[in-house]
Symmetry: C2
Subunit: 300 residues, 2 copies
């Protein structure tokens, strides 16, 4: 599938967010990007056909799963995960051109970024106050209307997007592995996405939705979610389990988003797309027979 000027990509905005950075790295300069105010808005744009693809944060290595993304996946059940993107999060200190470290009395950013860079601020800007903003990119944009004594913690991209800003320091986050992982979404299953080559089963992934509809009817000795997971093909292994309320009117009924990947012992053997999808579909059929509600929510 070819990215063209007609390719529309929805992402968590404003421009300059990490979502924007990772999406433009993947879809390239030709695509048309729509910055949306919040994560659920990206799903709405996709469902309404305003965009062809969506890029939303799924988890961060420090802060964990992004609840709003999982709840939107529940709400927009037709949305399909067709890929993953991982971005090392490298926070920069942005200022108006020419401003020096000693000039700064105020630091703006999203509270997660402020937390990740707290050591840097304490050490290098001990007298500066901090102010939380809606996103890291929003902090950079706010700099334009502030006196030069303000600084923002955001991505390097923001220095290119907003005229008159420059990077004063980079890599100012805690010395700790900090990555954010994103899902690439399509409106339905089987929408082609760019650069998905023939991939061996061992590299394939899938996202499964499992709801325990009638727990008491299970005769398995290992009841509940474990009974469902044990229906997975031996060619699959579980890499992520995220539990959310099913919200179908029964208190404490859960929806388990389960990410699986291929564990094919001969990873060199490439397989056709259909084979992996058949493994996912077969799992769904099996657990439905056990009384669970289930569906395939992603394959990539």
């Amino acid at each position: 599938m070819q990215v063209t000027r007609q390719t529309k990509v929805g992402l968590l905005g404003p421009f300059g967010t990490y979502s924007h950075e990772v999406a433009s790295g993947f879809f390239g300069g030709e695509a048309h990007y729509h910055a949306v105010a919040n994560i659920q808005g990206v799903f709405q744009s996709l469902a309404a056909g305003q965009v062809d693809y969506g890029v939303v944060p799924q988890e961060n290595t420090i802060f964990g799963s992004v609840i709003e993304t999982y709840d939107s996946l529940r709400l927009y059940g037709d949305t399909f995960v067709r890929g993953e993107l991982i971005l090392p999060v490298d926070h920069c200190l942005l200022v108006k051109t020419g401003v020096q470290l000693g000039d700064i009395v105020e630091v703006l950013s999203h509270e997660q970024a402020l937390g990740q860079c707290a050591n840097f601020v304490r050490q290098h800007l001990p007298n500066a106050s901090t102010q939380a903003t809606a996103s890291t990119a929003a902090a950079a944009r706010m700099l334009l209307d502030r006196p030069p004594t303000s600084a923002a913690i955001s991505s390097r991209a923001c220095a290119n997007i907003y005229d008159g800003l420059e990077v004063l320091r980079e890599g100012i986050q805690r010395d700790e592995a900090n990555f954010t992982r994103f899902y690439v979404l399509t409106r339905r299953r089987n929408v082609p996405i760019p650069s998905l080559p023939d991939t061996p089963n061992s590299r394939r992934k899938g996202l499964l939705r499992i709801i325990n509809k009638s727990p008491t009817s299970l005769s398995s000795s290992q009841g509940d979610i474990l009974a469902a997971l044990n229906q997975l093909s031996t060619e699959m292994e579980v890499v992520r389990i995220d539990r959310r309320p099913a919200q179908e009117g029964v208190p404490f009924q859960d929806l388990y988003f389960t990410e699986v990947q291929g564990s094919n012992p001969s990873p060199s053997a490439p397989v056709l797309e259909g084979v992996w999808d058949e493994l996912l579909d077969s799992f769904v059929s099996k657990v439905k027979k056990l009384g669970f509600e289930a569906s395939v929510m992603g394959s990539w």
Copy 2:
């Protein structure tokens, strides 16, 4: 174990929160209650020996798991879960004594409660503005300093705690099952808690902590977390899985909080406390041999 005036219980404050309501229902009128400003503070008080027990929200049937509780369990590894309490959440509209519905121009509450009661506000107070507060109890307390045109959404308990307030309407949340589940915490394993009678295995629960330390060394055909879960005794079933970043320096390494319960086919047979704990300990030994890090974090 007997609750006395020396029994100190830490909970998420201020007084009048649902945590306070559920804790005082369980520990009764004799115990001494410490209201702490946030969830992590309850764990800190417990670790420092300032309180004997802690009561923290673990999940809500609409909003799901309470991340701050799980991250505090990770941080304060010695804290032990010794019980669960479930509270139906019944929101009331509180006003200064004598105020009528038609007088109200402003509604204060925690944003979750505002969301759960949005239909009521839209229908009965279409012209009132809403303001988010730190907790439902904080909203009630703020009423005291406001003109009588303000109202708060909070628990019935707040009307008793704060003089001059009364319940104008009750049960104003969305017509949907709304429960919050709490954990009762102790500083260490085996601290006795009130009213834990001899319980058959089928009613016992446990909380297990599982970290996949060396995923590549696993020879099981079902790798990762599923290989660990399959080491559970057939007398146990999995009722909750909550995934959080392990935060041990390896990106995307996960800690799975796994809640199990007894699935003993003869629930009438009571068992000694030791037997259930031996099943939990035996699981930990087995998964450690597979290369996981694991521990028992709760037994009740």
